[in-house]
């Protein structure tokens, strides 16, 4: 078979089976509600959402690779672009952009133009500390870990907290070298 290049996020999204975003949004809302009831502390809910996202990320990455034809990314920069342009589009039907690179190319922001998780949502006074979309940061972290990139991810902007966009900061902690044999005994 001739090598096939990566497919665009739009092309993949157009070809996969889709469901009404409201089912997704309301189901996610039900999960957050359950966590708030079970765990009580908002901080614990943030942690659990991140963990659930991580669990999804380590599974979802295989589907991403299978359907997108993306092969190994040469560097973190390319990886970030692929997540934003193909990943978010292919699963959530939304486009994201990559911005705010730091000088050494190990930290950037993914900015979401639209976010199906937050339709109908407003944070009540009791949940001001909640990172409602924390599952997303977990997904990205989990998925990247499975392609040997350890990252730290945090929310810079959150529209539910009055910001003008959703901005995820992705910081590469270490990329484990894969291909180069290294000698330990010398």
């Amino acid at each position: 078979m001739p090598p096939v290049g990566p497919r665009s996020g739009d092309a993949i999204f157009a070809n996969v089976e889709r469901v009404n975003a409201e089912l997704f949004t309301l189901t996610y809302g039900a999960i957050v509600r359950q966590l708030l009831t079970d765990l009580e502390e908002v901080e614990e809910v943030n942690k659990q959402l991140d963990q659930m996202g991580y669990n999804i990320g380590i599974r979802l990455i295989d589907e991403f690779l299978a359907k997108s034809n993306v092969s190994r990314c040469v560097d973190f920069k390319e990886t970030a672009e692929v997540i934003a342009k193909i990943g978010f589009k292919m699963f959530l039907g939304v486009t994201a952009s990559v911005t705010n690179w730091d000088a050494d190319g190990t930290c950037c922001s993914i900015v979401l133009e639209d976010n199906p998780l937050v339709d109908f949502v407003e944070l009540p006074d009791t949940c001001q500390g909640l990172y409602y979309c924390n599952i997303l940061s977990g997904v990205v972290r989990g998925a990247l870990e499975m392609v040997s990139m350890k990252t730290e991810i945090s929310w810079i902007r959150d529209m539910l907290r009055g910001d003008d966009a959703f901005e995820l900061q992705v910081k590469l902690l270490k990329q484990v070298p894969e291909e180069y044999p290294y000698k330990d005994d010398e």
Partner: protein, 160 residues
């Protein structure tokens, strides 16, 4: 005559998590298949070491006089440390999930079939809440869809 003899799925640490025999006349029992799988895992890793240039992902096709073995490895994986005592080298390499089919020599379109099996795995194994990562695959829907895929493949072969 069956074109495809058997299918193996090996997890990231070399354990056999799925094995199906499609008519290799029952030569293997469970222990045999487990042993063969772990040997293949190591051979696959060694082949990466044999490569004269870096960036090798391992054996894709192995041919013998009575069968072909096609292997597909996912890009996801843990970094494992392999110790080569003779060369005293410690090597880190990616060990992904490996899928391999054993088939009649010269059977065509096995790459496509393996890719399809990988997709079935992402659907019916990874999206199943009762599947624990890296554990043996016991998912009825995966079995059903796999059987269909292999049958379709046979039909395609007969039609040629």
């Amino acid at each position: 005559m069956a074109a495809i003899y058997s299918l193996y799925i090996i997890n990231k640490s070399g354990g056999l998590i799925f094995y199906k025999d499609y008519g290799s006349s029952g030569r293997m029992d469970t222990n045999d298949s487990l042993r063969v799988a772990s040997l293949w895992h190591s051979m696959h890793a060694i082949s990466q070491q044999l490569s004269p240039i870096s960036g090798c992902f391992g054996i894709e096709l192995l041919q013998a006089d009575t069968f072909d073995l096609h292997c597909f490895q996912s890009l996801t994986g843990y970094i494992s440390l392999l110790f080569f005592f003779l060369s005293k080298k410690v090597t880190r390499m990616i060990q992904g999930t490996k899928f391999f089919v054993v088939c009649e020599p010269g059977t065509q379109h096995m790459e496509g079939l393996l890719k399809h099996i990988y997709e079935l795995y992402t659907d019916y194994v990874l999206k199943n809440p009762f599947y624990e990562m890296e554990m043996p695959i016991r998912c009825e829907l995966f079995d059903i869809n796999l059987t269909q895929a292999i049958q379709k493949d046979r039909v395609a072969l007969l039609a040629r």
